[in-house]
């Protein structure tokens, strides 16, 4: 477990300032290289040729609103992959199928019946509202050739190369400087010895060096200095020991490797999914609850791979797709047949936020009653690629918030009487959690 002190030691400040200095020198280089990557992405969209009569841009829009729940362009989902569907079927047949697939199947059309059977006999929603033009647009979109991901992948390499280059040049400069300094020192010694020799040769008496007590001996003899130094050392070591002891059991920035690389950045950040969609227990329970895998499958039944834009320099698309595959293994979902196999392997997550047993914390009190944002205690989770403990979660930290935070009482019948009485007693308009009794030991320790 990572242990980090919760107060600023001098060494930390020094290290930090060094780090700041170094990063500035690097980022200035990296930023110049980054823009090179961006122009490639739009190129894919504009490069699409006008394959049919339809407009692929409008088609994309229609596809995303109507079809994307069950179809993907390049992979089988609830329904088959749709890229190049135009080559497989007649347009007239496609119109009929989209407008009402059940009727086509009923009519005994061989292709339709086969298709129906191939896709687990799941009935496709009828779309009578889509005009033939709309369908043309969608087909136009599905006929755009697959974009080459290679274009986007290249730039990161150049970025790293550039930053490596700057590192080398820095080292060379520093090395050269060191050599120069060394040369200077050597020269100084040489000059000194030459001058002494010259003096000897000229018969000039060099004044003999006065025998002095070495500095360490002088130090040891000076009792006052020894006393001051030892007091200073004692205080300093006390300071560090205290710092060390106070961080035991405080797991701020604890960021363990999880069995599945789950990115809050993608889910809560990019996709803006509400925290409580997955951590639904937080509304009613003391536990926020780690979502059960069936909650994941609400979306991931259809999302078996991430989009190309999700990939980052650190984690490729293949990496993320692999993580989704891990979910499928755990929940027992067969992507090919779109069915549950029944073979499950519960995921053993590593617990990050772990209060001691003698502390009672209730999520619903804070989330539902007080309306505290999840981020208040968990930090900017929507930016975390890997989940970590952002705050120290120490008692002092809790108490601090209880002292500062006003209790949300508006519209809550429960608080009506107590608010009237307490606000009169304390002569305030708003009451803090502390004034409500939120500092009493027994409220959290039982």
């Amino acid at each position: 477990m990572k242990k980090v002190g919760n107060h600023n030691s001098i060494s930390r400040i020094l290290l930090l300032s060094l780090a700041v200095m170094l990063t500035f020198s690097f980022t200035s280089n990296a930023q110049t290289a980054a823009p090179a990557a961006t122009p490639a992405a739009p190129a894919a969209a504009t490069a699409a040729p006008a394959a049919g009569a339809g407009d692929p841009v409008k088609g994309k829009e229609l596809f995303n609103t109507n079809c994307a729940a069950c179809h993907k362009l390049d992979a089988k989902s609830t329904g088959p992959a749709l890229r190049g569907v135009k080559e497989k079927h007649e347009m007239a047949w496609i119109y009929k199928w989209v407008h009402n697939s059940s009727e086509v199947i009923k009519s005994g059309d061989a292709t339709a019946v086969k298709l129906f059977a191939e896709n687990n006999k799941s009935v496709m929603t009828a779309f009578p509202q889509l005009s033939e033009g709309d369908i043309d647009n969608i087909i136009a979109y599905t006929s755009t050739p697959k974009a080459e991901p290679a274009v986007g992948a290249a730039p990161p390499g150049t970025v790293t190369a550039a930053s490596e280059g700057s590192e080398i040049s820095n080292n060379v400069v520093l090395g050269a400087l060191a050599v120069v300094m060394l040369l200077l020192v050597v020269m100084l010694f040489m000059v000194n010895s030459v001058l002494t020799k010259v003096a000897k040769a000229n018969g000039i008496e060099v004044a003999p060096k006065e025998k002095r007590t070495p500095i360490w001996k002088a130090f040891a003899q000076n009792q006052f200095l020894v006393l001051v130094t030892s007091i200073f050392l004692l205080l300093a070591s006390g300071y560090f020991v205290y710092g060390y002891l106070m961080q035991i059991g405080v797991d701020q920035n604890y960021e363990p490797i999880q069995p599945i690389h789950y990115s809050h950045r993608i889910h809560a950040g990019s996709n803006g999914i509400n925290c409580k969609y997955c951590h639904s227990a937080a509304r009613v329970s003391k536990n926020a609850g780690i979502p059960s895998l069936n909650v994941c499958m609400n979306c991931h039944k259809n999302i078996s791979e991430v989009s190309d834009t999700t990939a980052t320099p650190d984690h490729s698309k293949a990496f993320y797709d692999g993580e989704i595959a891990k979910l499928y293994t755990a929940v027992g979902w067969d992507k090919a047949t779109q069915k549950y196999t029944g073979k499950t392997q519960p995921v053993k997550w590593v617990r990050i936020h772990n209060l001691p047993d003698f502390v009672y914390f209730n999520h619903s009190q804070h989330v539902s009653v007080a309306g505290v944002e999840c981020q208040t205690c968990h930090g900017p989770v929507q930016e975390f690629e890997v989940m970590k403990q952002f705050f120290p979660l120490t008692m002092g930290w809790c108490i601090d918030c209880h002292r500062k935070t006003d209790v949300k009482m508006e519209g809550n019948e429960y608080y009506a009487k107590i608010h009237a009485e307490l606000s009169k007693k304390y002569g305030v308009d708003k009451l803090t959690a502390a004034q409500m009794g939120g500092l009493e030991c027994g409220k959290c320790h039982y």
Binding site: M1, Y414, G442, K443, Y446
Partner: protein
């Protein structure tokens, strides 16, 4: 220069010839130091492969490993469901309504489950739920997590599959049919319509088979009498709430008499309202809970009880019967009978005498009174056993007439008086099957031991009273490879379905049109049957026969204790450690002897130097059967000429070592009669009891338990019978409540919790004690620790005897002390008052942390680990406590408990907290305390906090009755009421203003938040 002085090493050196001098010259010590003994076997020591270097390596490695391990925090794994069940939200409790009947105890209950684990039993308070849980039912949740349970079926002691078991039983049935031998189903009383239907189908399918019902503790005579009069084998479900005069002749109806569970109705009539409360006469031999609650208790032998019953019968009905009642009791019995007659329909008489004639007289008397409390409608179905049938079966088994014996819910090898003979007779039975929770005495000797699920894992239906219907539903998936007896029956009947489907199909005819889901949700359908057609019998013949019974010398009266009951849950550490409400002894059964008889026999009880109670041993002989080394308790109130002994102890099979305590009283239960003629002699040695209360009497300190009579209560001012203690302030006498050392906080804002305890309604049943254990993860410490006064009960029920005949006379005696010496001197007088009277008044007082507003414990804590909350709770932060124990020393109520050891995951305390299964019962909302930490009642702050949170979330005001503690929720007699006194509409606010209200040790000025109500006796 050397000195010639001679130094003497010892006086022995004076003697030249002493061997010691010689020895000392050569050796340092006179005697050889037994180093070999200390180091163990020399040979094995030298043969050991561990060299000194190896040893040092081990030490070094383990130290280094421990140090390294301490550097890293442990990694916790969180494993969510793959598919989360809809109704389970981690961290939120679910409640399931169910009902329990194990052949002895029964109740309508709610089961609290967390993450799919049942962790606590609560009373079902829905309208129509009649039976509240007693201490044993509260503890039954722990019995499910018993690591000594039978985990899989066994054939001849070897694990087998259910298909093998089924085949074996089916073959046994076929075999018995072929050889013309009997097929017998021996079960406890089932009270289950569906099971009984299955058994009827089984008997129809297998002609020649029969069903025998066996109650370990028999109520056969009462059933016989009721059957003779009303033509129905059932027991009357008395409603004591309707009676203004209760006469009990040997019936401990607040205990386990005819199933018990009468305290709710009884307590209703005991709280004085409008100057009225019920009056209760008790004629009995053992000191029971009912006797303790009675207004007038007369201790008499069972012989005299029979005569008293005859006399009462004569007075009530006017029938001319002569009774041989001892003259000494004549006046009391006559008085009771006359008052009973005067009370008419408001009177009721009950009797526990195991004699059909006596039970006939009970029916006759209540019929004659036209008692309202006595109703033949909705009779109890919870005892059906017939002594004759069981006796017949035993004879048949011994004679080898039984080919297949299938037992369920019974343990005859343990509970039969001739268990050993039955055990050997079982060899005559070709196929003997025991459906059992545990590999108990019976299950370990039968051919097939079939593991059954606990009631919390099973489906069943119950008709506890006639016409009522309740469902038992599983609250957890079966922990082990078990199968219900009913499923077995279905398989033998050739029914391929499940018992659940069978039950569901069958239930429609009992639920009065209510849907299955509704009954399942409520847990019951509160139906009732019409009164049985009034019958009659030859009562005067019965009276004459009873009057003719003979006195037979020293009587042994067998009874069941509140803790263990019939002994089914002997492996339950909560129940073993539960102190008996009367004797306050845990972890034992014992023979209770009156002071008079004890003196005669030379038996004693005494408190020894370490504070523990020691007692003599006795040898009992009943009709040739010996029971040796039974510990003796000298019991105030025990009738002269009788001794008592409780069932349920002395078990050996499927028990952890610590639980194998006591002696088996069933061995003396000849002819299933609870009264036996016994000869008793003193045996050598002393027994060490684990008794939690050394002092017996109140010593005239009437301000601890305030008692008065109804007459004084009605006629005098409250200041007379509930006086305020006075203290001196500025040389003037003022009420103690007016003086204050401290400045008080303003407690008028928000909630302010008070717990009210009505001493009139408290029967001492102990349900609260076990409920507190379950709710608050109170550890079990074991017999030797309890003996050292290190019991951990957060809630204790103090029991006090009067030293004179009544508490009032105690007070009077103390007031009249004059000087130091002499009869009236305080030295001798207090000495006398230490001893309880031969027939004392008894009072119970539940004491938990009083949550003083001016708490003495808080001021002495050096680390501020205990502090006060605005809501009135005295809070204890365990993580802050450093274990100085100053608080416990400064607590005037002695309610703080210290963790002398680590009681969980410690093999020295091998109780439920030491195994993974037993720990499943722990309440996840309450901390498990560690060694060196003080703990005490928290006023169930986790429960009040949850109530507040729920209200906040729902944005509403909290209604009265929503706030509960574990003890107040478990209290079925209404003695404990909990609530918010700042809510002026609440019950507890009203009780706080009541005239009967007082605080414990008011003069200390602690201003407690627990209030008591003066006990009023209707004498």
């Amino acid at each position: 220069m050397s000195s010639n002085k001679k130094y003497w090493k010892s006086v022995e050196e004076l003697n030249e010839n002493s061997s010691i001098v010689e020895a000392l010259r050569n050796n340092e010590f006179v005697e050889e130091i037994p180093t070999d003994e200390f180091l163990g076997n020399k040979d094995s020591l030298s043969n050991s492969s561990t060299t000194r270097r190896d040893f040092l390596k081990y030490v070094g490695f383990s130290t280094a490993a421990a140090t390294l391990a301490a550097c890293e925090g442990p990694v916790h794994k969180s494993i969510p469901y793959v598919v989360q069940p809809e109704q389970i939200i981690p961290g939120v409790a679910d409640f399931y309504a169910t009902s329990v009947f194990d052949g002895f105890d029964f109740a309508n209950i709610l089961v609290k489950t967390r993450e799919g684990r049942p962790i606590k039993i609560e009373n079902n308070t829905i309208a129509g739920a009649k039976f509240a849980a007693n201490a044993r039912v509260h503890a039954s949740v722990l019995s499910m997590y018993d690591s000594m349970r039978l985990k899989e079926p066994k054939i001849a002691g070897k694990p087998a599959s259910w298909s093998d078991v089924d085949a074996k039983i089916k073959a046994g049935i076929a075999d018995a049919k072929a050889s013309g031998k009997q097929i017998v189903l021996l079960t406890n009383t089932l009270a289950s319509p569906s099971t009984e239907k299955l058994i009827a189908e089984f008997i129809a399918k297998n002609p020649g088979s029969k069903h025998v019902v066996y109650d370990a503790v028999s109520s056969s005579e009462a059933l016989d009498a009721f059957e003779a009069v009303y033509g129905e084998r059932a027991l009357v479900d008395y409603d004591f709430g309707k009676a203004s005069l209760i006469v009990s002749v040997g019936a401990d109806f607040l205990g386990d008499w005819q199933g018990g569970s009468y305290d709710t109705g009884y307590a209703q009539g005991r709280i004085p309202r409008n100057g009225k409360m019920s009056r209760h006469f008790q004629f009995e031999s053992n000191m029971t809970l009912s006797g303790a609650a009675a207004d007038k208790r007369v201790a008499m032998t069972v012989f005299n009880q029979k005569q008293a019953l005859v006399k009462i019968y004569g007075i009530i009905t006017g029938a001319a019967v002569s009774s041989n009642l001892d003259k000494a009791f004549d006046a009391d019995v006559t008085k009771a009978a006359q008052q009973l007659k005067a009370a008419g329909s408001k009177g009721v008489l009950v009797s526990g005498i195991q004699d059909k004639n006596a039970q006939l007289l009970v029916l006759a008397i209540n019929q004659a009174l036209q008692s309202e409390a006595f109703s033949t409608a909705g009779t109890r179905q919870i005892r059906k056993g017939s002594n004759q049938q069981v006796a017949q079966l035993i004879a048949d088994v011994q004679a080898g007439k039984v080919g297949t014996l299938i037992m369920s819910g019974v343990n005859p090898v343990y509970t039969l008086p001739n268990g050993e003979a039955f055990k050997s007779a079982l060899k005559n039975v070709k196929t003997s099957v025991a459906f059992s929770l545990k590999e108990d005495e019976t299950a370990s000797v039968v051919t097939v031991a079939a593991a059954v699920p606990h009631y919390l894992e099973s489906w069943n239906d119950l008709s506890l009273t006639k016409g009522a219907y309740a469902l038992t539903q599983p609250t957890i998936r079966p922990l082990f490879n078990t199968k219900q007896f009913q499923e077995g029956l279905m398989s033998w009947n050739g029914d391929a379905g499940t018992y659940y489907d069978y039950l569901k199909a069958n239930s429609a005819s009992y639920t009065g049109g209510l849907s299955w889901n509704k009954v399942l949700h409520d847990g019951l359908y509160a139906g009732a049957s019409a009164p049985a057609a009034g019958g009659s019998a030859d009562y005067s013949a019965a009276a004459n026969a009873l009057a003719g019974s003979k006195s037979t010398g020293l009587e042994l009266v067998l009874y069941t204790k509140v803790g263990l009951g019939d002994g089914q849950q002997a492996n339950n550490p909560w129940l073993q450690e539960f102190p008996d409400p009367i004797t306050r002894v845990s972890w034992d059964n014992y023979v209770t002897v009156s002071k008079f008889d004890a003196d005669k026999l030379g038996m004693t009880n005494e408190i020894v130097a370490n504070g523990g109670l020691n007692g003599s041993y006795a040898n009992l002989v009943v009709d040739g059967v010996k029971l040796d080394n039974v510990p003796v308790i000298v019991q105030p109130g025990q009738a002269k000429g009788t001794v008592g002994l409780s069932f349920g102890y002395g078990r050996k099979a499927a028990l952890k070592e610590e639980m194998k305590v006591g002696v088996n009283a069933y061995a003396l239960y000849k002819g299933f009669n609870d009264v036996q003629t016994v000869s008793i002699t003193k045996a050598g040695g002393e027994h060490e009891f684990a008794c939690v209360q050394g002092q017996k009497t109140l010593m005239g300190r009437g301000d601890i338990i305030k008692e008065t009579t109804l007459e004084i209560f009605n006629t005098k001012d409250a200041k007379v019978w509930n006086p305020q203690p006075m203290v001196s302030l500025d040389h003037a006498e003022v009420e103690a409540t007016k003086v204050d050392l401290w400045e008080s906080f303003d407690r008028s804002v928000g909630h302010h919790f008070n717990l009210s305890i009505d001493l009139n309604a408290c029967t001492g049943c102990g349900a609260c004690v076990i409920a507190c254990h379950a709710e608050n993860n109170v550890p079990v410490v074991g017999k030797s620790e309890v003996r050292r006064s290190r019991d951990m009960h957060w809630l204790r029920i103090d029991r006090y005897y009067s030293s004179e005949e009544t508490f009032a006379k105690d007070n009077e005696k103390k007031e009249n002390f004059n000087g130091l010496f002499g009869d009236k001197g305080s030295l001798g007088g207090f000495g006398q008052m230490e001893h309880a009277s031969d027939n004392p008044q008894v009072a119970f007082q539940p004491v938990m942390c009083q949550h003083c507003n001016h708490a003495p414990c808080e001021t002495v804590c050096p680390v501020a680990a205990t502090s006060h909350g605005r809501q009135g709770q005295n809070q204890m932060a365990y993580n802050r406590c450093v274990g100085t124990r100053y608080c416990a020393n400064n607590c005037p109520y002695k309610v703080r408990r210290f963790n002398w050891f680590l009681y969980n995951k410690n093999s020295e305390f091998d109780y439920h907290m030491n195994d993974d299964l037993g720990r499943m019962v722990l309440n996840p909302d309450v901390n498990v305390r560690s060694r060196g930490v003080m703990e005490k009642c928290s006023m169930c702050i986790q429960m009040t906090q949850l109530t507040i949170l729920t209200a906040k979330r729902e944005g509403r005001v909290i209604k009265d009755g929503e706030f509960q503690t574990a003890c107040s929720a478990a209290c079925s007699s209404g003695a404990m009421i909990f609530g918010d006194v700042n809510d002026k509409e609440s019950k507890v606010a009203e009780l706080l203003e009541d005239d009967r209200m007082y605080h414990l040790l008011e003069h200390v000025g602690t201003k407690p938040n627990v209030i008591y109500h003066v006990k009023v006796r209707n004498t």
